[in-house]
């Protein structure tokens, strides 16, 4: 990469990042800070505990389960069982947009439900209060589904949310009540919660409605959460080419869509980290293959659409896809060409999530910008190194306690959508069927890959590389901006978006152009603070105006 010429040896950078740590911490962190080589792909330590005391970006399993995966489905009443805070903080803060067809349709996303556990519930158990809360939710709203989320104290005091859910489900008869043991201490980050959510959704929702879905090209969109309207843009595109979206996991989704998901013929996966379990389980149980795609970036969207058309192997679909590309791309091209001179050669760093730090590199390369360093907040080695590494990943104590569902082919519904030979042929053509090759393969040699970046490391990286833009989340936003570097939030998009598809690419180009070229960054120093300024101590003319 170009960056080599100006930046210090990345191995030295690593030394600098860890030198301040106590020696045990330094040793541990060193394994998560890797100099990339896309040819051989070195091992990255990932999905391990954060060292206590380190200021980390990470959150908890509950956040991954309730906040990420279940939050975007609009017609479930999500009751958080625990003290008030956990539910409060996850209330509307993830920007999952949703669009109901009419005012009559259920939408509980603007609501926050909690059992608001009190001391006596912690001491004597909270199951009774939980059941009262479920009953009250049922009486007030009559929802199709009620989901219960356990927060930290719940597991410790031994409340059985599953038993309580079952009891209420059987009592109601017309409301599917189910629980998640997603206590925040499980696993090492949000990631554990994704897995727990996948298990629960698979067990309690998928497969409940066998009505065949209609359409010629039927797929599910997995790992897309409709932040800033991303799903709306993908839906628009699918609509135009005649692809039927059976369900989405879980942006802009409803319970009945998810219950019907197993009638689709393909699962496309956007965020591999949060939803790959679902892809695997649906493949095993129903014979639906999954394919990794990416709708972040105009070129990536084009590629992904072509892959989907290739999967269905239908000439008419292929033609429609080409038609759409021909229709959409000229506008995108015109805009990027106008912007490119202002962004080309600039550098970016991305430290966020479990897939976006990879996907958004596509958009930056479309902008002519180099990603000099990147890493995930809660990913696993396969998200960095590719799924080939899966058999080599050692399961440690923190991951062991997260249930692996034993899934078998459904005696009636298992129906392989493609034969082994067909799948092999598609893979030959470059389709990532049941596979993902990870972030590092795409990054340049000698770029830096850092897992679970700490606050300290981020400041060091910025000092050393002085990137033109830094991508992370809300906790990092104003820290980095105080350093005079714009920060693009890739969880909340800074309340902008969508960034998927063609419309999204254009939005992103414009936003990044605006951010890296904003005049405000040059206004930080007051005139009297600038080199050569006199700050009132001057002689000469001005002095004669001073009256005292």
């Amino acid at each position: 990469m170009e960056a080599n010429k100006i930046y210090p040896d990345p191995l030295q950078v690593r030394e600098e990042l860890i030198q301040r740590y106590p020696s045990k911490v330094a040793k541990k962190r060193a394994k998560s800070i890797i100099v990339n080589d896309p040819e051989i792909i070195p091992e990255v330590q990932a999905n391990v505990r954060t060292v206590p005391g380190i200021i980390t970006q990470r959150g908890c399993s509950y956040a991954g389960c309730k906040g990420v995966v279940l939050g975007p489905t609009r017609d479930i009443v999500n009751i958080v069982h625990g003290p008030i805070g956990c539910s409060f903080y996850a209330w509307l803060t993830r920007r999952n947009q949703t669009r109901t067809e009419s005012l009559m349709d259920a939408n509980y996303i603007p609501y926050c439900f909690s059992t608001d556990m009190q001391e006596e519930n912690v001491v004597f158990g909270g199951e009774k209060k939980l059941k009262i809360a479920i009953q009250e939710a049922y009486d007030l709203f009559h929802p199709k589904s009620i989901a219960i989320f356990s927060t930290c104290p719940v597991g410790l005091i031994g409340d059985d949310v599953h038993a309580a859910s079952k009891e209420m489900r059987e009592k109601f008869g017309d409301c599917n009540v189910f629980g998640f043991s997603c206590e925040g201490y499980r696993g090492v980050s949000q990631s554990a919660g994704h897995h727990i959510a996948n298990n629960g959704v698979f067990k309690h929702m998928v497969g409940r409605n066998n009505t065949p879905s209609v359409g010629k090209f039927k797929l599910n969109l997995l790992g897309e959460y409709n932040i800033g309207g991303d799903a709306f843009e993908i839906e628009r595109i699918f609509d135009k080419v005649g692809i039927t979206l059976v369900s989405s996991f879980s942006g802009n989704s409803t319970v009945s869509q998810i219950e019907n998901a197993h009638t689709a013929d393909l699962n496309v996966i956007l965020c591999h980290r949060s939803i790959n379990y679902m892809g695997d389980m649906m493949e095993t149980k129903y014979g639906i293959p999954w394919m990794k795609v990416n709708f972040v970036g105009a070129d990536s969207t084009v590629k992904s659409l072509r892959k989907i058309a290739e999967y269905f192997g239908d000439e008419e679909l292929k033609a429609k896809v080409e038609e759409l590309i021909a229709e959409e791309m000229p506008r995108v091209k015109a805009i990027i060409e106008e912007i490119l001179p202002r962004t080309t050669g600039k550098t970016a760093m991305l430290f966020v999530g479990g897939s976006r730090a990879h996907h958004y590199q596509d958009l930056f390369s479309e902008l002519g910008m180099t990603t000099v360093a990147a890493g995930y907040e809660f990913a696993h080695r396969d998200d960095y190194e590719g799924r080939d590494v899966l058999p080599k990943i050692k399961v440690d104590a923190d991951s062991k306690n997260i249930e692996e569902l034993k899934v078998l082919p459904d005696p009636e519904l298992y129906n392989p959508r493609k034969t082994e030979a067909e799948l092999e042929a598609l893979k030959e053509k470059g389709l990532e069927i049941n596979g993902y090759s990870g972030m590092m393969k795409q990054m340049t040699k000698k770029s830096l890959v850092v897992d679970d970046l700490s606050h300290y490391e981020s400041e060091k990286l910025i000092e050393i590389y002085k990137p033109d833009i830094f991508c992370a989340g809300i906790k990092e936003k104003y820290v980095v901006q105080k350093m005079g570097i714009p920060l693009k939030q890739l969880h909340s998009y800074d309340y902008g978006g969508p960034y998927t598809g063609f419309e999204g690419a254009v939005n992103f180009y414009k936003d990044i152009d605006r951010m890296v070229n904003n005049p405000v960054w040059k206004l930080i120093k007051a005139p009297w603070q600038k080199a050569g300024a006199t700050n009132g101590k001057s002689k000469g003319l001005e002095a004669s105006y001073v009256t005292q």
Binding site: V51, P52, I55, Y62, P83, G85, N107, V122, G184, K475
Partner: protein, 460 residues
């Protein structure tokens, strides 16, 4: 309709809280600790809480909010978090070099029964706390009270663990700030200066959570009450606690430990609460009130008199925290407005009593509830039954305001979608003037919007 499932019919609930008008203790503790200079708040529990608290404070202030966590995993949750906290203390002093680590607990560490006093003592005995540095703590279980309780608990911890009384009294007054914004704290300091009174204000988040853009991230910004100021509070003449719920417990602790007498006042929001504050200040410091302050007051009263027709009888719904709601309600009554519905998720009989007393005297028909199930869902239902002209509360109120088409003023915590609260005060006469301006603008903008063409006024 965003809140389309909120029905008019109010049914009593016992188990379910919907749209809470409160959050949990540790975020208050974190906020209070940020008002101490060189202090790094530390959340003793799993990562999620810390991440959520930092995110919420960051969204509210649009500023860096630094805090560390013990990063519990399942092992720590079962066997206790001592090892995690000790390791964290090592790492923090090595990497982030604070003067103080302010540890607060979370539901998790409280449930497993971690004893912060014992662990921090062990840290000291093991030599993990460098010379001249401090580790303080507060127990902040969220299954008791609310974020306000957590703020009070951390402040109490600060007072208990820092204040010392030497034999030499200092000619200064402690002002223990209840939960208020950096702008409010700045205003309190300014008023004290105008009165010519030397104060120690704690905590003090001004110059911390309103830090200037300088091209550098200053990890420990210049603001915050310093350790030596905190130590000196034990020698002060007197303490004024601003807020019965969020500030008084620290004043009590200080009295117990260092025999510094105190009085509790309302946070000076509005005319009468500010009057009481100024009177008390002048009394305990034995100074006369300067004309400058009297004139400030006069300007506020002038506006209240001149614009009274727009305020009279306007029906208001409000939700938030006890120490703000009480003086705010009083102010609305002084403005001749009508508080119709009041809700606070923070439990407590003291607040309930005080508010009842105020309402009984001046507005007995007001709906008021605090504590469990006193949530925004209930408030919204009340609004549907008994509509209002104005809603005052934190950002979450905008969903109700939009659905009911009611003018809305953001006030309280958190405010996630506007700026201003950290820069412009709501306390003192000038803060109250700003509040009146906001109220008038909201009401008069609505009048303009809704006026028939022939009734559209140029001069108002």
């Amino acid at each position: 309709m965003l809140l389309r499932h909120t029905s008019k019919e109010v049914k009593e609930r016992e188990g379910l809280t919907i749209n809470p008008a409160k959050t949990c203790q540790p975020i208050g503790a974190m906020y209070a600790a940020l008002g101490i200079h060189g202090c790094l708040p530390h959340s003793h529990g799993s990562q999620g809480c810390c991440s959520y608290h930092r995110s919420t404070l960051t969204r509210h202030y649009k500023e860096p909010v630094m805090a560390a966590t013990s990063s519990f995993t399942e092992g720590a949750s079962v066997f206790g978090g001592q090892a995690n906290l000790l390791a964290a203390i090592d790492t923090i002093f090595a990497v982030y070099e604070p003067d103080i680590i302010a540890v607060h607990s979370t539901c998790l560490s409280e449930t497993i029964g971690d004893d912060l006093q014992q662990i921090t003592r062990k840290a000291r005995d093991d030599g993990k706390i460098p010379e001249g540095k401090h580790v303080i703590f507060a127990s902040t279980p969220s299954f008791i009270g609310s974020h306000v309780t957590g703020y009070a608990n951390m402040l109490t911890g600060i007072a208990e663990q820092f204040a010392v009384s030497t034999s030499a009294k200092k000619n200064q007054i402690n002002i223990i700030a209840g939960w208020m914004e950096p702008s409010d704290m700045r205003e309190i300091k300014l008023l004290s200066k105008k009165l010519g009174i030397k104060i120690v204000l704690f905590p003090d988040t001004s110059d911390v959570l309103d830090a200037p853009q300088s091209g550098k991230h200053v990890f420990y910004p210049k603001g915050g009450t310093t350790v030596s100021e905190l130590q000196s509070t034990g020698d002060s003449l007197f303490s004024i606690a601003l807020g019965a719920i969020s500030a008084e417990p620290a004043a009590i602790a200080l009295e117990k430990k260092c025999k510094v007498g105190f009085e509790t006042l309302d946070i000076p929001i509005g005319l009468t609460a500010t009057d009481r504050f100024i009177m008390k200040m002048s009394e305990v410091a034995n100074v006369s009130v300067p004309d400058e302050i009297t004139e400030e007051r006069g300007r506020l009263v002038d506006v209240m008199a001149d614009m009274e027709q727009y305020l009279y009888g306007k029906r208001v719904a409000l939700f938030g925290d006890p120490d703000q709601l009480l003086p705010l309600t009083e102010f609305l009554l002084d403005l001749n407005m009508k508080p119709v519905h009041i809700v606070s998720g923070t439990p407590g009989q003291r607040f309930e009593k005080q508010m009842r007393q105020l309402l009984d005297e001046r507005s007995p028909e007001t709906n008021f509830r605090n504590g469990l199930q006193a949530d925004m869902f209930l408030l919204h239902q009340w609004m549907k039954n008994d509509p209002v002209d104005l809603l005052i509360g934190n950002t979450y109120g905008k969903y109700m305001a939009r659905d009911e088409d009611v003018p809305f003023i953001r006030f309280g915590f958190p405010i996630l979608d506007r700026i201003g609260h950290s820069y412009f005060p709501n306390v003192g006469y000038s803060g109250s003037l700003r509040l009146v301006e906001k109220i008038l603008s909201a009401i008069m903008d609505r009048q303009d919007r809704d006026a028939l063409e022939e009734k559209f006024e140029l001069v108002m």
